[in-house]
Each structure stands twice: as structure tokens, then as C-alpha cells.
Symmetry: C2
Subunit: 162 residues, 2 copies
């Protein structure tokens, strides 16, 4: 069970978009080139972000993506769920229904303990992601990434931002 690579891509793209000046947009082409990713496929991830309302888009030359909210209002969970979906990672196929000892008509009303425990763990994962904001990431990165690389990257993006 491994998350799609689109999750990684989306997180990185959001980090870049967070550094974009107010009112400017960055295209799929630029984001793909910057990360060395296939443009057409990265586009699908960005469309997921768009459908989830996390980013805003414009068409035409100088078009592209910008964040729809402030980085402090965007959580990791928002981004992860946008591309990975909101479905729980443990699916119950109700195999207890096959127990040959059960009365024929007998039907459990509630999900059994196995499923509930697995879902709690799933929720713990989500809760952790919910408590990290995009702004938290930016803060960490700004401390860890060398100043000159940060500056060059910022310049690279601005040259291409419409």
C-alpha cells in the first residue's frame, strides 16, 4: 500500500505556489519543468487540486495555477485527499457474513471491531496530516534550504509566472 506519486507532486507544487506573489499564476508547463515531471500527467494532479477547490486557475497565455487560500488555511490533509481521495484505507468486505454458524437471516447492524480499530488508525493518520498547514512547511523549508538556492528558485518562478 503506497500513496500515488501524485501526492508528492501535489505537495511540492503547492509549496512552490505558496511563494507566488498575489494575483500571479504559474503554468503546468513551468511546474513540470521545475520538478522534472511529465507535463500531461502532472496536469491530472493539478486538476485534482482544482476540483477540490485548493487552487484557482486561469486560461490563456500567462494562465496557470495559484493557491485558492492562504497557506495557513491549507493543510496537508487537504492536498493528500485531493489527489488520493477521501476513502478509508481499510475496506471491510464483511467476511464475517460467511460464518457458517450464523443464523441465515442474521445481519450485523454495526461494523465489527476489526474495522473500527483499523478506521481509528486511519483517522489518526489523517488527524496528523490535518494538523500540518502548508505555511508550516514553508516555514521549515525556509530554514533548511540555503538562502541562495531559495533566491534563485524564487527568481526562476517569477520569470515564468504570468
Amino acid at each position: 500500500m503506497i500513496l500515488k506519486s501524485q501526492v508528492e507532486w501535489a505537495l511540492h507544487c503547492c509549496a512552490i505556489l505558496a511563494g507566488l506573489p498575489e494575483g500571479r499564476y504559474l503554468s503546468t508547463k513551468a511546474l513540470a519543468e521545475f520538478h522534472g515531471l511529465p507535463k500531461e500527467y502532472l496536469s491530472k494532479a493539478l486538476q485534482s487540486l482544482s476540483q477540490a477547490g485548493l487552487v484557482h486557475t486561469t486560461l490563456g497565455p500567462s494562465g496557470g495555477y495559484r493557491l485558492a487560500k492562504a497557506p495557513a488555511e491549507l493543510t496537508f490533509l487537504d492536498i493528500v485527499e485531493a489527489v488520493e481521495g477521501k476513502a478509508r484505507t481499510f475496506v471491510c468486505t464483511n467476511i464475517r457474513a460467511n460464518n457458517p454458524c450464523r443464523a441465515p437471516g442474521y445481519c450485523e447492524s454495526t461494523p465489527c471491531a476489526v474495522a473500527r480499530i483499523m478506521w481509528e488508525a486511519d483517522e489518526a493518520w489523517r488527524e496528523k496530516l490535518r494538523n500540518v498547514r502548508l505555511s508550516d512547511l514553508i516555514e521549515i523549508l525556509s530554514k533548511e534550504i540555503p538562502a541562495d538556492l531559495m533566491k534563485r528558485t524564487f527568481g526562476w518562478v517569477l520569470e515564468r509566472a504570468g
Copy 2:
């Protein structure tokens, strides 16, 4: 990203094995019949449990599986990792290495903040599973499952346990 159905199977099988009297074994055939699962494929899940040292096996007629430890010494994480693997659910493909602004030889020593945050969430999921013991599950089930069904199930298993 969805866990394999083998995870559900393994958890259910362990729950059944936990009710097995000391020194007796239950075969793949019985476990598959009880849960309505394909015997050959369930066998792969049980082999995973065996390789992880969670269950003990014997060969021959009256052979099969029993738990290798007391239910209080077996956690959900043990079982989940036995079939699903211990690898983290977020894999980092190091796309930051493609940043065209980086100096050619520049190489990050540590995983970036994105990966660390995702791995923390993964660890929170595992921590939750680590804190639930198989004995906890049995306790909950014994309260929730009707006494007569419990009794019939127990009898069904004993009839087939070698």
C-alpha cells in the same frame, strides 16, 4: 491507496486462532471455509504470518496453525505489517533533485520536510495499531457477539481443530 484484503483476512484468522485451546491447530482449509475465502490464496496470507513468526505451524493430518504468542503479546501492527510489509506508505522519489536552480553537484543530506511530515503521519498510523493487542479485540468481540453465535462458532472450530 487501499490495504490488501489479506490484511482483513489475517486479522480475522488471528481472532479465530486466539480462541483455539492450547496445543491445537487449525488448518488453512478450515479457516478458508469459515470465512468463505479462496483456500490457496488465504494460504499466502497465513504464510506471511508464519514468516513473521506470529503463528506456529505443523504439517500432516491434524496440522495447521496456532498463535506463536499469547493474544496479549500480539498487536494489530504485527499482523498488518506481516502481510502488508513494513515499508512506509509515502515514498520519496527525490524530485527536488530536479530543481534547475540547484548547483550541479549539490546534494541534500537529509530527507526534506515534505517526506518527514508524511512519514510522521505514517508513524502515527502505526503507533495506533501498535497499541491495540489481539487480546483487546477478543475482549470487544466477546461483548458484542451474541453468546449463542459465539458458542456455535467455538464448537465449529473445535470440531475441525487438530
